[in-house]
Amino acid sequence: MAFLARHLLSLIVFLPLAAGLAILFIPKERDRWIQAAANGATLLVLILTGWLALHFQPQAPGFQWEEAVPWIGPIHAWYHLGLDGISLPLVFLTALLSFLAAVASTTIPERRKEFFFLYLLLESGMLGTFLALDLFLFYIFWEVVLVPMYFLIGIWGGPRREYAAIKFFLYTLAGSVFMLLSILTCYLRSPAHSFSIPELIGKGLQLGPAAQWWVFLGFFLAFAIKVPIFPFHTWLPDAHVEAPAPISVLLAGVLLKMGGYGFLRISFPLLPHVAIGFSLIMGILGLINIVYGALVAMAQSDFKKLVAYSSVSHMGFVLLGLSALNLTGFNGAALEMFNHGMITGGMFLLVGILYDRTHTRELDAFGGLGAKIPVYGGLLSFFALASLGLPGLSGFVSEFLALLGCFPTHPAITIASASGLVVGAAYFLLMLQRILLGPLKPQWSGLPDAGRREIFTLVPLMIFILWIGLYPRCILALQTPALTNLLFRLGGNIGW
């Protein structure tokens, strides 16, 4: 028991993988066992991360539940995991969405054994990415995420799944290559000769200003593709649309956060001078993401694509918060990642529910469903309102913090970005109108309302959205000390 307690993070990371391997040995006919094993493993991870969140000490310096073991001696690569206020919300988000999406995966029709094996491998990779404190290990987990995702889209996806899967894989891999170059530069040009992130930050890099920019750009490319930042975003609509609904949930809910997390964990603390110089570009990119993403979302006639482009728009607020270089902005950015995971995760579940019943995602094919399936209508309205930033729900808090933080740094960009709020409201209301309002089309007269399992997957998200919307301090208190530390390093404004 004591051993487990000391290796709690490893347990969390590798428990899904172990369950995935075990599932391979369950006979194919025992479908209920397979589903139960996947549900059970993800639930256990969720309980463990919940326990972490409750016992986390926000004020304690450094990392908690840290594990560091020498791994590959000659190159100083360590097996090094740790948790702090920046990673904790994302780890919890990953665990929660993984559990709910696993429950929602009952709709996957075929080859379920392989599906859940890859699914659980994916969860291990995602958790590892958020917990790794060694660049070498980080890179491995980063790539581990890629492979199962490729198969999950390519095998269980929609009609254009192969194109989407290859595009996703190659695009992300291209980014990773530049990240690898940057990692190697850091390793070679540090007096520590180490991959350890805290050590590299502590001892600094021996690089000229220009070289620092190149290293930053290498990381930037990898993270920008994941976020995704305009113009590296076009893999996202294809991958989201083709992926099966539970996988879209993880793709939008967790994978996009890996990019934003990378900035906070690696680029910014490692290269503080470049981070400051990059602030204006980051702000402009955020503005483009917000406004451009919203406009393109408005032009969509495909429900899922609309939600996908809305993600591009929302991730713009993360960039805006990062460009602020002050505590309010960073808090907004980190919280927006968490909130966007909940809200858009829920949106993709809802898209999946409707698609399962109607086998179409064409918005104009619907209409008047609000009278026929009121529970679904209510759920969809709730998530749409959260997504368009209605005060009292979580999306508003983080968007407001990002805007408030960015305002002193880049006032013009902030005001221009705020116009995205109007366009955002416009396309979500248009979407609601096209699906729920108006006269009911006759072909949907027999449509069943949301079932108990489907409601079960959405209610926990709604609770968090409402809770954070009304009492954001519960998350902000966790992340503020870690972000303050980061700002100390950047020389940013902690008082704002």
Binding site: V296, L390, A418, L430
Partner: protein, 557 residues
């Protein structure tokens, strides 16, 4: 304000029980209404701009939900969307104002606003105007007024509660609340008064031309809200809030009366009504009293608050006073027109299946209670009641001496009200044309513009909505064509490059390898010829080789 929300709101809630009876979504209606009360009270009781903003958006949401309550009607669904989006444009201003105040003044509480204004320095007018922008969205001020008439697609109690008495007044409330930010900046005040005046005047002219009973009332609401803004722009929070309170009573009553009429005749066109006082006496009486109150005939409530605003406007200069008086005149005219067309005269066209009847008690009792309010509520702000309302608000006691402004303003106010009523009775009650046919003919173009609401909706459609949609479409084709195209082309280029490389690999690199192998093979084949397996041949070659070797060595030495 809080009392207005709860008391007027309670009466309207009571009325709704009758009005919404039999609706399949009866329970949902009351859930939305309760949510609205929650948000509205949050807005009114908030001591902090951020909390106020939360309530502010909350009432906007409820407004959206309730306008599109009968969402099977496309018009209702569109109206709800339009209302949400137009007010959101306003909310942007408010949000920017909040950001500015947070940045410059440090905190967002609604206390010590004057000190905050000082801390804002040169930014104070900007902050004030941004807040006013937000207020203009919510209170349907020009140029963001377009959503309110369409909002009449919602159930009538909703129109009464949200779009007449409470929510739309939130903008006025906000400006009154933050008036200390405006007061040191004459230009900000001037902007408030000007926008209010423009809105009020133009909405009043439109109201004179509409034939839909609820739309007449909607434009009247816009006009009255503009009038309140004028009062605020004249620097008096009291004048604005006082008119807000009295307006809440008589306008809620007007809407509920209109709802009662619509409930009875099942349509909203005033030109097809008439003579209804016979069949619905209570509704007719209460509606008329509310109309007189709004027209500004003493001693009903509207007179007192309207006169208060006019007196303030006298301090802002003659143009504003003239504008105010002409608005008062138009108000009296259009509301009398509505009363006359609806209740007086003979029934115009009665469909065979319709038998207008008085509404049930649960609807008429709120009407009567509201009527009592519409008559009496004005007294709380008069000298007869010792200016109780002013003391209650606890504001601007220093300006009290101005209460006794020139007496001729009171007379002028009564004069224009009576004049408006008289003209309307003459025109619509007695059927007299007010101007010779030639003049009417030459002014028909002006009538057309006014009755088409100055074509502002069409203008917005052309200038904003369609360009934004076109921009969205072109952004998408740019995304799919250029950016994704570039990605795909990069992929294709990679494929092409690998094909070239494949060719090079196959023909040149592999060719060289194969050629080398072939050369070795051919040499081997050639050499194999000498491998005959006969010992004599080998000896011969060995002997020849030895001889050659010797010869070479000889030659070298």
């Amino acid at each position: 304000m809080c009392l207005v929300v709860t008391v007027v709101g309670w009466l309207i809630m009571l009325y709704s029980i009758g009005y919404m009876g039999g609706d399949p979504r009866f329970s949902r209606f009351f859930a939305y209404l309760s949510l609205f009360f929650f948000a509205m009270l949050t807005l009114v009781l908030a001591g902090d701009l951020l909390l106020l903003y939360i309530g502010w958006e909350g009432v906007g949401l409820c407004s959206y939900l309730l306008i599109s309550f009968w969402f099977e009607k496309p018009a209702a669904a569109n109206a709800g969307k339009k209302a949400f989006l137009t007010t959101r444009v306003g909310d942007l201003g408010l949000l920017a104002g909040i950001l500015l105040i947070a940045k410059r003044a440090g905190d967002l509480s609604l206390t010590n606003l004057a000190a905050k204004g000082a801390a804002l320095g040169g930014w104070a007018p900007a902050a004030a105007l941004l807040i006013f922008w937000g207020a203009a969205g919510k209170s349907a001020q020009f140029p963001l007024h377009v959503w309110l008439p369409d909002a009449m697609e919602g159930p009538t109690p909703v129109s009464a509660l949200i779009h007449a008495a409470t929510m739309v007044a939130a903008g006025v409330y906000l400006v009154a609340r933050t008036l200390p930010l405006f007061l040191p900046n004459p230009n900000a005040l001037l902007a408030v008064a000007t926008i209010g005046g423009i809105t009020s005047f133009f909405a009043a002219t439109i109201a004179c031309t509409q034939t839909d009973l609820k739309r007449i009332l909607a434009y009247s609401t816009i006009s009255q809200l503009g009038f309140m803004m004028m009062g605020l722009g004249a620097g008096s929070a009291f004048a604005g809030i006082f008119h807000l309170v009295t307006h809440a009573w008589f306008k809620a009553l007007l809407f509920l009366g209109a709802g009662s009429v619509i409930h009875a005749v099942h349509h909203q066109d005033v030109t097809r009504m008439g003579g209804l006082w016979r069949s619905m006496p209570v509704t007719a009486l209460t509606f008329t009293v509310a109309a007189i109150a709004m027209a500004g005939i003493p001693p009903l409530s509207g007179f007192w608050s309207k006169e208060e605003i006019l007196r303030r406007l006298a301090g802002s200069g003659p143009p504003f006073l003239i504008l105010g008086l002409s608005i008062a005149f138009l108000t009296a005219f259009y509301i009398t027109r509505a009363v006359v067309l609806t209740f007086a005269g003979k029934p115009h066209v009665i469909p065979a299946n319709a038998h207008p009847h008085e509404s049930p008690l649960v609807m008429t009792i709120p009407l009567i209670l509201l009527m009592l309010g519409a008559i009496g509520i004005g007294f709380i702000g008069t000298e007869f009641a010792g200016h109780r309302f002013q003391h209650f608000l606890g504001i601007e006691t220093g300006a009290a001496h101005q209460e006794h402004g020139p007496a001729w303003i009171q007379l002028a106010a009564i004069g224009v009200a009576v004049g408006g009523i008289a003209l309307a009775i003459l025109r619509y009650g007695l059927g007299r044309q007010l101007a010779p046919a030639r003049v009417r003919g030459s002014l028909s173009w002006a009538y057309r513009i006014v009755s088409n609401k100055y074509y502002i909706d069409e203008l917005y459609d052309r200038l904003i909505i369609r360009p934004v949609l076109a921009l969205a479409r072109s952004a998408f084709s740019f995304d799919a064509g250029v950016i994704d195209g570039a990605v795909n082309e990069t992929g294709n280029a990679g494929l092409a490059l690998s094909r070239v490389k494949g060719w090079i690999d196959q023909r040149i690199v592999d060719g060289a390898v194969n050629a080398a192998a072939a050369a070795v093979g051919r040499t081997g084949a050639a050499l194999r010829l000498i491998q005959t397996g006969l010992v004599q041949n080998y000896l011969l070659i060995a002997a020849a080789g030895t001889l050659t070797l010797f010869a070479v060595l000889r030659w070298l030495s």
